[in-house]
């Protein structure tokens, strides 16, 4: 089934979320797509607890609070969120609309695309070891998609954060799990940590101090992981290696959409924030123009101007009458409707 909307926003970070609001004021409906499983982008993923001091009127606000407030502010416009998926492909239809297809095969038709993708989408950080590409997705898994293939297998999980500990606790029920981390202190939630330590005490999980030094393909569906703790080298033969070193950002498929780029940033004009392809806009950290500052507040400004131009694509026959939220009865009704 193809869903339909006026605008598809790529990226649910602060600027993408504020774009819902600015577009909503002009009666433009939005769907928002993000690769993370929650809205907020870098604010929610990288620094949910860190205070931000340069949001106008907010003396200090954490990344998570800012996200929560932007979600609340966008709510009256009933945005539809498609999370845990990435836009894979866009296609210009004869009608002039865009067909947007995501990594889980969701199709959405829209009149405009607004790219608010920050530094790209968050993907797991891969091991910086050469010649292991053929083992990735085979013996080296950066995410667990299908738990059943791991049953009864010998696993080496690496990392000290929530992903590493949660999977250690979960997979130790059905697999032979060794958890390796560079120190015996963990960043994961205290609850997961105590659970893991309990499992270790009961010999359900082996814990190992160390780091990955190298990987060899044993050509029998197993791999040898060479580990190092200070100067001590140890080898592990395992079926699967699951390294959890957090996430990094990558531009991803956007690079192939024929937009004018400048070092992985999308070139836009400063009147409409439109890209080199009409009806595709780029706002926030992902765009570039003379004098660009990568600030959340700049992204907010860009969202407001972008919305003015989007209106022309969404309502080609209508005149856009500029109204303030302080004076427009219609806007006030909409904003207080929930």
């Amino acid at each position: 089934m193809i869903e339909k909307t006026d605008v598809v926003i790529i990226g649910a970070g602060p600027v993408g979320l504020f774009a819902i609001f600015e577009l909503g004021l002009l009666n433009i409906s939005c769907h928002v797509i993000d690769n993370l499983d929650k809205p907020g982008g870098q604010c929610a993923e990288l620094y949910p607890e860190k205070p931000i001091y340069d949001i106008p009127s907010r003396v200090s606000i954490s990344g998570q609070e800012l996200t929560d407030d932007l979600l609340e502010q966008a709510k009256p416009f009933k945005p539809v969120y498609h999370l845990s998926q990435q836009v894979e492909k866009i296609e210009k239809l004869e009608s002039g609309e865009w067909l947007i297809i995501t990594s889980v095969n969701k199709s959405i038709k829209a009149k405009c695309i607004v790219i608010a993708a920050g530094a790209g989408s968050f993907v797991p950080r891969k091991l910086p070891i050469s010649d292991i590409a053929h083992l990735e997705e085979k013996n080296i898994l950066y995410a667990v998609r299908n738990k059943s293939i791991l049953e009864g297998k010998k696993l080496l999980i690496v990392g000290g954060g929530d992903s590493a500990l949660d999977w250690t606790n979960e997979l130790s029920k059905t697999s032979n799990v060794t958890l390796m981390h560079r120190r015996k202190e963990f960043k994961a939630s205290p609850d997961s940590v105590s659970k893991m330590l309990e499992l270790e005490k009961n010999k359900k999980v082996n814990f190992l101090l160390g780091q990955i030094k190298g990987i060899e393909d044993l050509k029998n569906d197993k791999i040898k992981v060479i580990t190092k703790n200070n100067e001590e080298i140890e080898n592990f033969e395992v079926d699967y290696l699951l390294p959890f070193f957090g996430l990094k950002m990558e531009l991803g498929p956007i690079a192939n959409w024929g937009l004018n780029l400048d070092e992985n940033l999308i070139k836009v004009d400063t009147e409409k924030f439109e890209t080199s392809v009409p009806s595709i806009f780029a706002i926030g950290d992902i765009n570039t123009y003379p004098g660009k500052l990568k600030l959340i507040l700049s992204g907010f400004h860009e969202a407001a101007l972008m919305a003015q131009e989007c209106f022309k694509y969404c309502y080609p026959d209508k005149k856009n009458i500029f109204r303030y939220t302080t004076s427009s009865k219609e806007l006030q009704k909409k904003l207080t409707s929930i």
Partner: protein, 102 residues
């Protein structure tokens, strides 16, 4: 003031440094490939560097935040630091460091 930076290909560069910047900023602003994804707020580990051992004692000790962020870095050594957490100062004139793998 100067610092010496060895990149991942082993090339050594001498950079002009000033007291207003962190080591990450000095490296980034010179156009050397250092990701520094979070912009310098100790929320990622993509500005991971190895400080030459003879300079280690001149640095402020690592704090808990930085230590736990290093959990996301690869091949962490005793001289591993996040370059965004080190403010340049007169004492560090001549400091040598190497970019960690990513």
């Amino acid at each position: 003031m100067k610092i010496s930076v060895t990149d991942r290909d082993g090339n050594k560069q001498i950079l002009e440094a000033d007291n207003n910047s962190t080591l990450m900023e000095i490296i980034r602003d010179e156009g050397i490939d250092i990701e520094a994804a979070c912009g310098g707020c100790c929320a990622c580990a993509t500005c991971h560097v190895y400080i030459d051992n003879k300079w280690m004692h001149k640095l402020d000790p690592i704090d808990d935040d930085e230590e736990s962020m290093l959990d996301q870095a690869f091949d962490v050594k005793k001289n591993s630091r996040l370059s965004c957490q080190i403010q340049m100062n007169d004492e560090l004139d001549g400091l040598e460091l190497e970019l960690a793998p990513e």
